[in-house]
C-alpha cells in the first residue's frame, strides 16, 4: 500500500519501512533525512517546516505514480514532518519496497531528489542570531519562474 502524509508528530523510520512491505517483496530501501546541527559551519538551533498542504499531498502522489511507472517497485511510503524540529529529528522518510533491491535503491534516490524539487514544503533555519527561509537549490525544470 502506498501512502504519503504530512504530520507534526515525530517520525518513526521503522514504522514507515514496515508499512510498505508486501509479502511478495524481498527488500525495502529507506531514506531518512534529519536536521543537521551544522550547515556550512553555522550552527542551527532548530528548524521550522511549512507546507502548502493540499498541493504537497498532490505532488507527493504524483512523484509516487511517476516512480512506479519508471521503476520495478511495489509500494512507496513517504512521510514528511512539519512544524518545529529539533536537531537530529527526522524530517522526511521515504521507503520503497521492491522484489529486487536494485530498483528499490534507484527509486528511493529518485524520489528524494524529486521531492526536494517539487513538493511545496519550505524550511526555515533558526540560528543563535537570526533565522532564514531556505530557498531550494534548483527549480523543477518544467516550472515557470516569474517575478520582476
Amino acid at each position: 500500500m502506498d501512502f504519503f502524509e504530512l504530520t507534526t508528530d515525530p517520525l518513526d523510520v521503522g514504522e514507515v519501512a514496515r508499512r510498505v512491505v508486501p509479502q511478495e517483496c524481498g527488500a525495502t530501501v529507506t531514506l531518512d533525512g534529519y536536521v543537521r546541527q551544522f550547515t556550512k559551519g553555522r550552527e542551527t538551533l532548530h528548524l521550522i517546516y511549512e507546507a502548502y498542504e493540499p498541493m504537497a499531498v498532490k505532488e507527493m502522489q504524483k512523484i509516487i505514480e511517476q516512480a512506479k511507472s519508471q521503476f520495478e517497485i511495489e509500494h512507496v511510503g513517504i512521510m514528511h514532518r512539519l512544524g518545529k524540529l529539533e536537531i537530529g529529528e527526522t524530517s522526511v522518510v521515504i521507503s520503497v519496497a521492491a522484489p529486487h533491491r536494485k530498483a528499490a535503491f534507484e527509486a528511493c534516490e529518485w524520489l528524494i531528489r524529486k521531492l526536494k524539487r517539487t513538493v511545496p514544503i519550505w524550511k526555515k533555519e533558526v540560528y543563535a542570531n537570526g533565522e532564514e527561509w531556505i530557498e531550494g537549490d534548483t527549480s523543477p525544470p518544467s516550472l515557470p519562474i516569474s517575478g520582476s
Binding site: Y52, K116, I145
Partner: protein, 79 residues
C-alpha cells in the same frame, strides 16, 4: 472577479500575510495577478517566484478564473 492568493514561507513573511483576496478584471493571467501583488508588495521583486493555480504548478501565461486559488512562493526546500 475575486481570486484567493496564498503565500508560504519567505513570501508569507515578506507580504506579512498568508492569504489575500484580490478583486481584478475578469480576464486575467497568473502574471496579471502577480503584477498587482508586486505593486502592493515590491519587497517580493527580489525573489525568484513560483506560481500555482488550484494547487498545480502554473506558468505566468495561464488564465485565472473567478474562485481560483493561486499561490506565490519561492523554490521549495523540503526534505
Amino acid at each position: 472577479m475575486k481570486v484567493r492568493v496564498l503565500f508560504f514561507g519567505a513570501t508569507a513573511d515578506l507580504v506579512g500575510n498568508r492569504e489575500l483576496t484580490l478583486t481584478c478584471a475578469d480576464t486575467g493571467t497568473a502574471d496579471d495577478i502577480l503584477h498587482l501583488i508586486l505593486k502592493d508588495f515590491p519587497q517580493l521583486q527580489d525573489q525568484k517566484l513560483l506560481l500555482s493555480i488550484n494547487q498545480e504548478y502554473a506558468y505566468g501565461f495561464e488564465s485565472v478564473r473567478e474562485g481560483d486559488e493561486m499561490a506565490i512562493f519561492t523554490a521549495v526546500s523540503g526534505g
